[in-house]
């Protein structure tokens, strides 16, 4: 005997069961598309991948060994010309600032400060402009060149630029290794700035992010981070990040940068 109600129930169950495979296909396809969309929009996963390997210490003993001998070299060279140096410094200080080449000397102080670990982070902003300072050996030679040819034409300055560029990567590696040791956000921020200057925006982004993770209050790290994002073609994300930061900090420089990004001045 047919039971209509029971049969209708069975039919309903059958219908649901027959639609399940289609539902599963639709769901899986939508999940794939969604994940693809998210993956293409936010390159956050590869960045974190980049970050983790950086943290793993690889070269630990070298930096100290290299740094120490370098400083003495500098001092030695200075010492060998004991008689000349005092005169040189007196002459140099006024002239190089006007030409923007000899401002390398303050960076040495910055580097020394790094070694002492606890430094106020914001003070380093001024030294950023003198990023070339990092390279100590060249700076000394530059100084000497300038000393000898204080009044000579610009040909010498071209040489100086090429010298600093050659040693930049070694110095960054040095700073990185030091950063791995003491985890000082000032160091990572410095590295971020350096990478940004060198045009390695991916690394600049990474180190700005690392700096931010250690200390969220460093304004420069936010700025480097967003600038790198813009350079990497992630303008929307940069704007979003800056807006969030401005909302929290009411930073003027961040606001200026945001305006520049939005107006297209900063590309």
């Amino acid at each position: 005997m047919l039971n209509l109600h029971e049969l209708e129930q069975r039919w309903l169950r059958y219908k649901i069961k027959s639609y399940l495979p289609y539902l599963a296909i639709v769901l899986s396809v939508s999940v794939i598309f969604l994940s693809l969309f998210v993956f293409l929009r936010e390159p956050s996963t590869p960045i974190t991948k980049n970050i983790t390997p950086i943290k793993a210490p690889v070269i630990s003993p070298k930096p100290q060994v290299i740094l120490k001998p370098k400083q003495p070299q500098v001092e030695k060279k200075v010492l060998t010309q004991k008689k000349e140096l005092p005169q040189v410094q007196k002459e140099i200080i006024p002239s190089p600032r006007s030409t923007n080449k000899v401002i390398l000397s303050p960076s040495l102080g910055f580097m020394k400060k790094m070694q002492t670990d606890q430094q106020p982070y914001y003070k380093n902003e001024h030294t950023n402009e003198n990023n070339d300072v990092q390279i100590k050996a060249p700076t000394v030679t530059v100084v000497r060149d300038d000393i000898q040819h204080v009044e000579h034409p610009k040909i010498e300055t071209v040489k100086k630029i090429s010298i600093t560029h050659k040693n930049t990567h070694n110095d960054i590696a040095e700073i990185i290794s030091r950063f791995k040791k003491n985890n000082n956000p000032a160091l990572s921020l410095f590295v971020a700035k350096k990478y940004y200057e060198l045009g390695d925006y991916r690394q600049a982004y990474n180190y700005a992010l690392i700096t931010n993770q250690i200390n969220q209050d460093i304004e420069v790290s936010w700025i480097i981070f967003t600038k790198s994002l813009v350079k990497l073609g992630e303008k929307k994300k940069a704007i979003k990040t800056l807006k969030q930061y401005i909302h929290q900090s009411h930073s003027n420089s961040a606001q200026i940068l945001l305006d520049e990004i939005i107006s297209g001045k900063f590309k």
């Binding site: 047919l2 209509l4 209708e8 069975r10 039919w11 059958y14």
Partner: protein, 269 residues
């Protein structure tokens, strides 16, 4: 007064009756070739196909059509006992009644004594149930040309009967019956209903609904009959419970087809 649904339901009762034979183009041509084969001097004709393709109906129709003009004997159910089989044939074909045991040698003596102007035709349905020994005797009997056999077999996937040696050498004609196509099934259903004056019910079967039925039954006549019997049973139940307004009556809805299939086991739900 019984409703159209009850009448339509009865149309699809699983009964093999030559009167219910539905003329379809392909089936008719096969039937004609079978009739022609019987007229030929063939020893044995094999009719095979999957269950529910209409083999029994063919034999019935053949028997009905030829019984008035020819000596033809139909055995719908197999006679499995050998002695009983010979005794039945001796009585039906040769008019010799035997009270005791009858073996093959004795039966052959009876066969040799009789002479017919026209070879009698024996129709054996469900021949796959006969033992190999008996089948061999049937083969020997057909070799004498005193009796012509038309046998029907199930074509199974495991074992292809036609490949059997004793059939391969002696069967002169093999006819395979197949399931109906979707269009044939529509004609089959509608003709069957119209034969019983159920015109409204016949009009309910649109191409869409027949396609759904065909998908479920694979065009198997027996399964289709079963499904449609349940379908009209469901209609009559809806009618009884005054819920007929809930379902479509201008055409057969897929829901009812599927419900019938679930009930008959054609759909595993």
């Amino acid at each position: 007064m019984s409703s159209i649904f009850v009448n339509s339901k009865d149309v699809f009762l699983d009964i093999v009756n030559a009167k219910d034979y539905v003329q379809l183009d392909r089936v008719s041509s096969i039937y004609q070739s079978l009739k022609d084969s019987i007229k030929k001097p063939l020893k044995m004709i094999l009719l095979y196909g999957k269950p529910g393709t209409g083999k029994s109906m063919f034999l019935n129709k053949l028997h009905t059509d030829l019984s008035s003009t020819q000596s033809i004997f139909l055995y719908k159910t197999p006679i499995l006992d050998e002695s009983e089989f010979y005794k039945t044939l001796a009585q039906d074909i040769f008019g010799t009644r035997y009270s005791g045991e009858l073996n093959f040698t004795q039966f052959m003596k009876i066969v040799e004594k009789k002479e017919f102007q026209e070879t009698p035709v024996v129709l054996l349905d469900e021949a796959q149930l006969y033992s190999d020994v008996l089948m061999e005797k049937i083969r020997l009997l057909s070799d004498t040309r005193t009796v012509k056999f038309v046998i029907t077999l199930h074509k199974t996937e495991k074992e292809d009967i036609i490949a059997k040696e004793h059939f391969q050498t002696r069967i002169w004609e093999t006819i395979e019956l197949e399931n109906a196509s979707s269009s044939e099934l529509k004609i089959y259903i509608q003709k069957k209903l119209m034969k019983a004056n159920c015109f409204d019910s016949a009009n309910m079967f649109t191409n869409k609904s027949v396609n759904r039925i065909h998908k479920i039954t694979n065009g198997n006549y027996r399964d289709t009959n079963k499904l449609l019997y349940t379908l009209f049973d469901l209609y009559s139940l809806y009618e009884k419970s005054s819920r007929l307004s809930n379902i479509r009556t201008d055409q057969v809805p897929n829901k009812l087809i599927e419900m019938s299939a679930i009930h008959t086991g054609l759909i595993d739900a």
